[in-house]
Symmetry: C2
Subunit: 426 residues, 2 copies
């Protein structure tokens, strides 16, 4: 990446360096690292704070939500989200405040108690492997790290994982016990799994009898267009394929109501849910039903969630537009970068010349623009091409997004120019 | 228990049977099974429901509590409960809604990741054993069942576990990795650990280098007298004894604010908390900080918690008094039953003649009075003497408690009389 000593930089490199020094002189303090809702988005749900008044604490079935009990969560809330997560209501649990915790717990339970269809506890296997479509969600990979699960990257195609690769791997290797899937507006590529992808995932023969899809439907209702993407209901697809126990479905209201104080959900087959229910019965006397009742009052039906998501969209769209505008203005037609224009979700995925992503992130950091570390969307935090950068425009203001993205474009141009200048000398 | 055929029952037995038939005729529907707060107790915290208004969602350090983040929980809330749970504030995490879940997680983490001081993961040990003072809390025993931990009962003395027994066991058996302790107003005996007990637990040599006290301080502030019991701070005692990593301290506001929507806490040594923090970082992006902020506003300091607990006491005392009155009136001086008069907590422990507890519970159930199953306070649900019954008077009204306890007394008299009548014939 460094320039060969004594070489006269080209005009492009000189201009890129000047632009970068001007950027640094602005002394920015901007952050595009995490897919966090903005304060304005959180304000949309402020009615939750006072929606329950003293004396109004009972669920539809008369349960005093303030007291212990009710492992499965409130029926009225599960009914609304059963529709949105495409899970039969009897097979859906409303849990705590974070779907990540539910994923952790399902993994921990599988490590320590024999999953339906498994020969033994995963903790007693020599090695557990998970397929990881890449680029993907870093916290899925952290969970694998935490449980000592070997991650096997598989490529994405724009409509889900490359199923030829997936089918070959799972058919051959009984150590592959699971696969992470973000089926809609995937983090970070924004792609949605095609019907064929879902059907093949549901039906593919697996060497492991206890193989599971970890179906993280994190962006189920997080549309950025008038014509939302649809994903085939995975539990139904698995049942039709004769693999009813193949998928665990995860979701939450974290990016629907509030990020830290929402409600998470788990859905699966009756057999899997009976297994989970037995294990979680030892873990808790029940979830926070008061918070669930708040959500049930705020979201009386799926249409109320849909209307609410339109208000999120109105806040998110200008931020995404600011990303596209800045990138197009600064990098359009230069042939040194590509980026996604997702139809939903929280991220734009930026592709820079191979070998440049780390340098772009470093340059941006030195100019006061925090980006997700290059490689974060890959197992082990290492992008083999060092070319992918995840942009998260939701949290800053539109003006901040614009300023940050112009700055990022300056960094991309400098990194590309330095690489181009350096490569002939190598 | 059944009467020998053809034997003429004594006058006592006949009277007991008549009383029992009169009880059954009342067609009661009463429940003394669980240590649940009454609706009136939950009402005490109804201000929590609306204590945060839109625009008032920031913690003292400026954190927007609605968003992601903050693994350790809100500092202002931890500061209040650090004092009450006798844990340095930097070593205390504010977690989710249930201390049971925190206990589960610490156990799951110890099963799957090497505890500080341990040679290997507990999942890789041939056998893990926990000492269980009996009678004890059934959900502790359910956690052992869930993780395949062998339970070793140890007797209680009235001021904590029999330390001669405990010291001998832990010194000899490296499979003993842990011990359940409810140090104050223990469930169900109500006893509080003496200073000497705490010091010996902290200092005793253990064959397992990774032995841990699971210190469930569930009733830390749940006094029923003007002179609260005090327990020696266990973390300090362990540190003084040169065993700083010996104890995990658990607590919650479940019986302070509301049972399903309170805040749980975990405290331990810096080394243990670093271990926990690393593992829980993969499990969650942070607890429900909005609910923690509610609690911080409602309980600005330890004195506010103390004042609040006096209001609980005012509701609980008449219920406990109703238990004592009914038992004294019906069973006093008969020599067939003993019961505790706890200085705090949620339970009265009733001792009936050996071999009679199951029959008393059965008779009560047939008369419409639900009691905790006999043996529930023992590992495996089996009381070897079949003599202990846990009474939980908090939830029903005073009148219901009185009616239920008179009924229980009738059942005790009948069971004892039948046993006495039957035993000569055996």
């Amino acid at each position: 990446m460094s320039q060969a000593a004594g070489q006269e930089p080209g005009a492009g490199l000189a201009a890129a360096r000047t632009a970068y020094e001007e950027l640094r002189a602005q002394d920015l303090r901007l952050d595009l690292t995490r897919g966090k809702p903005s304060p304005e988005q959180l304000d949309l749900s402020d009615a939750l704070l006072t929606i329950l008044q003293p004396g109004d604490v009972r669920a539809a079935d008369g349960t005093d939500c303030r007291n212990y009990g009710g492992l499965q969560g409130l029926t009225e809330l599960r009914t609304v989200f059963a529709e949105l997560f495409q899970v039969p209501v009897d097979q859906l649990f409303a849990c705590g405040n974070a779907s990540l915790s539910v994923m952790h717990d399902v993994l921990a339970h599988a490590m320590l108690s024999v999953l339906p269809g498994a020969k033994r506890r995963w903790a007693d296997e020599d090695e557990i492997r998970f397929l990881c479509p890449v680029p993907g969600y870093d916290r899925h990979f952290s969970l694998c790290d935490r449980f000592g699960i070997t991650m096997v990257p598989v490529p994405l195609t724009g409509h889900g994982p490359d199923m030829d690769v997936v089918e070959e791997l799972v058919a051959a290797d009984p150590r592959i016990k699971g696969m992470w899937c973000v089926p809609k507006y995937s983090n970070p590529t924004g792609e949605t799994y095609s019907d064929e992808t879902v059907r093949r995932l549901a039906a593919m023969p697996t060497a492991a009898p206890d193989f599971r899809l970890f179906w993280d439907n994190a962006y189920a209702v997080h549309h950025l267009t008038d014509e939302p993407d649809a994903v085939l209901p995975v539990l139904a697809a698995c049942a039709e394929a004769g693999e009813p126990d193949r998928a665990f479905v995860f979701g939450s209201t974290s990016k629907i109501s509030t990020a830290g104080s929402g409600v998470a959900f788990l859905g699966s087959s009756p057999t899997n849910m009976a297994w989970y229910s037995r294990l979680t019965a030892a873990q808790t006397i029940g979830p926070d039903k008061v918070n669930q009742l708040r959500h049930a009052r705020f979201f009386p039906d799926a249409a109320a969630v849909g209307a609410h998501m339109e208000r999120h969209r109105a806040l998110l769209e200008p931020r995404f537009a600011a990303v596209y505008e800045a990138l197009e203005e600064e990098l359009g037609g230069l042939g040194i970068a590509n980026w996604t224009s997702p139809r939903g979700g929280y991220f734009v995925s930026l592709e820079v010349p191979e070998g440049c992503a780390s340098e772009v992130v470093r340059l941006a950091k030195d100019a006061g623009i925090a980006l997700t570390p290059a490689g974060a969307a890959f197992p082990g935090g290492r992008d083999p091409r060092d070319s992918q950068i995840r942009l998260a425009p939701s949290f800053p203001s539109v003006g901040e997004v614009r300023a940050a993205m112009r700055g990022v474009a300056v960094c991309v141009k400098l990194a590309a120019a330095e690489q181009a200048a350096a490569s002939p000398a190598v």
